[in-house]
Symmetry: C2
Subunit: 160 residues, 2 copies
């Protein structure tokens, strides 16, 4: 994102958290950030609806997302802003941001650029299903195949 | 759920959290619960893929979900197990549970019984989109109409 977008982000105002009725039916956007200052953000493919990934945003990353039109998350493991695709080029163009009844979660409908959202090479991070055999909970891959070779994209070995 | 299912839930074993490679490519299911003992669970319509709601599970609720085949969450606001539909009858039959690369989030593909998942009367909790006008971030309803009248379903005024 450029400096204009960063400046624009600072000017965006959210509403105040009102009562339950106002949160559920009002026209104000008053996102709730948790004790760590984060809100859950689920990225879904804008066309197919497939869940691509679950991530988190702090207030700054949500403002930046609104200002630049690409998903900017807050990485909990790295404790910093994470402009998705900053390293891989696999940015997520935001088509629409939805919020839920009590405004403590977001769904980003995105146009996922490049072959995939997941650093493992799959299009979606949710490529495995839980399968219980006997008493043991295991996993099986439900996604047909990887869309790309991550080694050819990530030099650092980290997602991005 | 019945007593057999509750007993069955206790016998289900998860895998140990291994290294990054094992978590991403191994066959063991080793869900990561956060500092509050919770994992994010996104419920989506198994047929359409629409995100219905974002909720949380603790280890017990995840075991119960696997044992009884219906979504059991942990309500953060009420700090107790929440068998979705326990009051409204709008249970979520679990078709498949997916987990992501690092196994710290779940997607539940569900058959949502009844007219909707949201206590407000909408089928999905995500019935509004963020719309920025000038510097003000507001919301507009993107879901066409409510599927039911919540007052006819919830006696207590709480979701369920």
């Amino acid at each position: 994102m450029n400096d204009d977008q960063k400046q624009r982000a600072q000017s965006i105002r959210f509403g105040a958290r009102g009562d339950k009725a106002a949160l559920e039916a009002g026209a104000g956007f008053a996102p709730k950030f948790d004790a760590d200052g984060l809100i859950t953000a689920v990225a879904v493919d804008a066309v197919t609806g497939t869940v691509l990934m679950v991530a988190y945003m702090n207030e700054e990353s949500l403002r930046l997302t609104l200002a630049c039109g690409e998903a900017v998350y807050f990485s909990r493991s790295r404790q910093r802003l994470w402009h998705k695709g900053e390293e891989s080029g696999h940015v997520q163009k935001v088509v629409e941001i939805l919020t839920d009844c009590d405004q403590d979660a977001l769904v980003l409908r995105v146009d996922q650029r490049g072959p995939g959202a997941c650093h493992t090479g799959y299009r979606s991070c949710f490529y495995r299903a839980v399968a219980v055999a006997g008493d043991e909970a295991g996993l099986r891959v439900v996604y047909p195949e990887k869309g790309y070779d991550p080694a050819s994209v990530y030099r650092s070995g980290k997602a991005g």
